[in-house]
Subunit: 354 residues, 5 copies
């Protein structure tokens, strides 16, 4: 649960625009990668200082600066100064507790989205914040740690696959967004598998572990929804937005991302419905089992309690109990008790308790 309560409060009281990194430090070193391309040329370079990227800003080629690691506040600050970014925007980049959002600053568009990873060890989803800034001919992306989700895009640029080399910075931004959303489907599949496993377990023999599993998935779902729902609005406002930074031809691509987002949301909601049903099944299965236990107890008690009473009768020490003198009395009593038991068993059979 700690995921719901990161220390976002440590900024309380600071003036707005103060740059403080909020969140875990997920990587050792801040890594800056520069990619610069147009239809005819391509250049990829890992740069040591952020200043090396600045000359590319005003070139007509598309420039993509990717920063992995947010803990070096100075890097963010320098970029802010050079690209003339609003201090509140820089603050948002550093605060990894941000909600997905889109803000149009006129000269550039600012996007915050969540990249999701499935942590197989902890069996939980982890979210990393990705900030994108789209300018006229450049895109700056900030990640908390180096990830492989953008690799496909990088490769596509390098090899000139698809349309990407012929298009502008807006298409690049779209491609990055698309890569992030596509990645959600992988997370959804993992979840689908887990739900399926839990369902099978639930049908076979539910234990407290099953309950625990249902509860964990439910918790993860709450977390997922928080990352996914606001994305819908982000993409939709990008698509509708009348920013000149986004060319009309990009509209259809954004609509495609929007459709994918809706699909992810639909899946999350279906999962939620299924999980809420699972808890009911679990509870009814506990009730069922208690019912079964009760039946066993009742059958034993109802058969043997009367019999024990009968044998008790002939254990009494009255001087005059005529049956005790009868030669076949003992066997007669045994026979009577056998028939009592028989009647009981028949009764329970008819009630379908056996």
């Amino acid at each position: 649960m700690p995921r719901f309560i990161k220390r976002t409060s440590k900024k309380a009281g600071l003036p707005p625009g103060t740059l403080v990194h909020i969140g875990e430090r997920k990587t050792e070193r801040v890594q800056i990668t520069l990619i610069d391309y147009d239809e005819t040329q391509f250049k990829q370079e890992e740069v040591a200082t952020v200043e090396e990227c600045f000359p590319f800003k005003d070139k007509p080629t598309v420039t993509w600066i990717n920063i992995d690691g947010l803990h070096d506040v100075q890097v963010i600050e320098k970029i802010g100064q050079h690209f003339n970014l609003h201090p509140l925007l820089l603050e948002d980049i550093l605060n990894t507790e941000q909600r997905p959002k889109m803000e149009d600053f006129g000269d550039y568009i600012f996007l915050v989205v969540k990249m999701l990873y499935y942590n197989d060890q902890a069996e939980q989803v982890e979210a990393e914040q990705v900030s994108l800034i789209l300018g006229s001919s450049w895109v700056i992306s900030f990640q908390e740690r180096p990830g492989d989700v953008f690799n496909a895009v990088r490769e596509r640029i390098q090899k000139g696959k698809g349309r990407i080399r012929k298009m502008g910075a807006d298409y690049l931004a779209y491609s990055l967004l698309d890569a992030i959303v596509d990645n959600y489907f992988i997370i959804m599949e993992k979840f689908g598998d887990r739900i399926e496993d839990t369902e099978t377990e639930l049908a076979a023999s539910p234990t407290r572990q099953t309950l625990q599993a249902i509860r964990t998935i439910k918790r993860e779902m709450i977390f997922l929804r928080k990352s996914v729902w606001p994305l819908r609005e982000v993409v939709s406002s990008l698509e509708r937005g009348e920013s000149p930074l986004i060319h009309e031809s990009i509209g259809i691509y954004l609509r495609d991302v929007y459709d994918h987002t809706i699909q992810v949301i639909d899946t999350v909601e279906s999962f939620r419905d299924m999980i809420s049903g699972m808890l009911d099944i679990y509870l009814s299965s506990i009730s069922n089992r208690m019912n079964e236990v009760m039946k066993v107890l009742t059958i034993f008690a109802a058969i043997f309690i009367p019999l024990t009473f009968v044998v008790g009768i002939y254990g009494m020490n009255f001087e005059y109990i005529p049956e005790l003198k009868w030669h076949w009395g003992y066997f007669g009593v045994l026979a009577i008790m056998a028939s009592i038991a028989g009647v009981m068993l028949f009764y329970f059979k008819r009630k379908r308790w056996l």
Copy 2:
């Protein structure tokens, strides 16, 4: 449950517009059927290659190209090139995990809807994706496998029944949509029957199988909603849409389809309400039965435990127990015990436990 988690993730990382078939391969051979008609002439032909259809594109007659089977990416690609379709549209046709949607591309309108089949063996609903492209004088439809839902439309064209031969491509597209939605009612009836059966079972003698049945229907419902709800928006945006491809006279027909869609949604929601009630009934029926079991146990215990105590008393070996010497002691004790039992039975009768 696999239905919720088809491998849509396999596209993650590919450039947008890459044509990959996502979904099961439901038919062996791609089958292309060409129907071309106007008020005076009619021509139906199964063509071997898609190129044979192309000359019909610019004829004034209405042309309907139906493709059954999506796994041959090349066919889709050729159609895309000849009809000048957007790559993302082609991608959507191939991805059978699409959500129902409508997109207006100006020169043509793209529709994705779900055709539902009831699989009697598996006792579940199956969805097949149908894509429709409506151009000025042509309609292209893509199905995952040959189905019989469109047969009625085909026949109507052939025999000139109704208005269809006098109307344009927009009426054809409407007719196909209408055929799909009409087919939903059949599915709804099957579901209604299943719910009715389950209800009867629930009232008579609910078992774990009943619970399983409720749960399965509930799951199917989640699936159905995902197919049906978005359709509402699709039809409504078609109706409102100001595309010149759809003549004003078609508006009323689309409104009719819209009404049917709402009716289907209403039915799905009523079913949901009924099913959620059924789970409560099931749980209360388990509780009821446990109550009954408890009563049987309690009656047995409460009658015989005191009696067993009494006989125990006279089984004690004290030297001086005066009652033991009495001649009618034994029968006296039997009489006393009989009255204790009688009082108990009367008490339980009054409490309505018997």
Copy 3:
């Protein structure tokens, strides 16, 4: 439950506009009643063939044609031709599974609403579909069977009560709608009585029949909502509608009907709230009773099990049990057991189990 799954599927595959009667045949004979009136004259007649009504169409007087019984498709067809009605409208009249709706066709307005009857034998609500067509100076109404809800309107026209003879066809249509909605209140009262009865039963001594009753009412409620909720939109779109067929002076009357509709919806929702609470009460009452049963069992067991143990001790056959020789041993043991029982009873009293 069959009410949710009438055979609406039998139309699947037919061309739109095909006239097929869907629903039960509720009356033997199609009965056509013609009423024609203005401020000064009044004429009411049961006509044999629908053609007799046609001359009244273009008269300046208000003409009301009422058709009871829908199974004679030809009557509907002839009306359709003469009054120039859209084939889809005729289809909707015949399909009694229609959702309440309002459609403005320019020359006339088409309304579908549900008339509700309470079937006292079956103890359930039954819905009959009523279609109204409002033209410039005429109203045509279609009912599934002759009913008495419109009688009050008929009488008012005949006797010239109220404003009706001075107003146009729009006021007549309003009056019919008003009569239908007013009738809902009667249904609501019946339901209120049933809910009240069930509540009383629930408070006194709930049985499985009570549960059954709750469940039936709940089901009826689902059915009622389907009839009532869409009506809201129907009346509201009539009121807002800018059709020249509805004079401005009628607006306030429609608003009144709208208010009544909202009142009915409010009542339905209140009933739903109350019923959902009743199920909880039922379940808690089962739990309560099980608790009581458990207590009885526990009290009996806890008092007699220790006592039975004590008497068992002195039933042992050891050669040397000193107590057995004591003269008052037996009575001493009885006294000890009495005090054990007393302590137990005191304990249970303090725990408020007695």
Copy 4:
């Protein structure tokens, strides 16, 4: 519950605008009070016939006619004629089952709201319908019975407290509305107290009475919501309304009433949340107690059943049971049994059942 099903159906079939009083007759005599004032003069009078009020209608002073008691239809009718009110409006005044609403008739504005009283004997909220008609320089108010809620306003006018004598009829209408809404807070407090009491009871020792109390409060809440929610819309449409009858300077006062209405709604919703939680607590408390009962039973049974078995062994009459001959056999068995009991007690202690 009767409160949900007053005989509103008795109007079914009557022509619209027929004046019938629907509701209980809550006062003996219709009482008409006239108040006429401006900044300099004030006149209050109880008049015998409504006609005495009519001359004040067109005076420039503000005139407030208050009618207590609705059963005298003629009074309402005369007012309707003189003030030229719409028949449907008069009908609404008489039908005390009206939903709160606001209607702008151009020359006057019609308001229906609910005044709430707490009936301490019946321990329930009672609603009285108040209708207000606001004209250019007059306000007419209709109450079901004389009440004390308007007294404060009356006094303020008389003593010239606050702004009221300087303002017009719109301010008077606002003041009456404000008095009604302010009165809701008193009801809310009563409810708050009852909920608090029930909560305390629930925490201490919940009984069936507690359940009954929860259920009653829940029912009252359903009733309250029906009165309060529509009021929101009423006040908001008054505020937004562009009627010339309401001067711009009144806007801020109406916004204040609106804020109060929202506050009341908020409180009702909070109460609902709390009550729904209470039922869960009640159910879990029953479960808890059953658990406790079960534990007591199990502890008794588990300790004494084995012991009883042991003493039974030495009650057997076999000729050769060596232990029976041992001199200390009896005390040995007692010791063994004591240790069995000890082990059991230790086991239950460790399981925290004791």
Copy 5:
């Protein structure tokens, strides 16, 4: 719970605009602090009477008057007169039961928000009402008691940190709002910790205290929502508002506050989801435990009841019971009983009850 029912009713009946302090008196003395600054100068002073602040009103410098303690109605009244504030506004300042709201009075903007404190002793959240009035060059803030939330802002002004000294009164108002919202995150963390603790307890060994804790948190949540939800609308209407008092450059800062508000709301909703899940877990855990208790009981009963019956048989006093004469009869019976017990244990093991 008293928090939901403060005595807001004591104003009922008073004329609107009457100044009455509603709420607890949280501080002894009304404390008035004046801060006056522009880019070059700064002045902070605690003034004895409110009149000392008035000369600063029309100065071009930014003036911030902070009043701690609301019970001195005269102070509020004087401010109202001098700053020409609407009486209803003054009334709202004094009524601490206000809902968060924003009202634009043209010359000034009025804001009511809730400042939240976590009372560690009572383990509950407490809300204090803060009213802000923003004029052209001045801000007046009203608090119920001196708090430390505004200290950071005060310090920032004094030391000239950040932008604040260069900006106008609108930025000051924003800064105060921001400080309040930032403070919410601290409350959220406290809650997160409490939820986490309760969850851990729930997983380990839930007791009635756990239930109590869940219930308390749930109650607090209802309270929190009431304070937080309306804030969203407040900030959003501030941002959208076209008041000339708020310069365009402030827009982005307000959007930032808006984002934070949404984040807080998101967290509250996530907490609610988690808590509602916790109650289900608690209930299922009670059921589980009852199940376990039942099993123990059943195992004991099912093993010993048959055995007790067997020993009872040989305790009977029949003259002719052949087994009693057998020399090894006793040990034979012991052996038989051991095997019965063995079979039982095996059976329960297979059923996984052991």
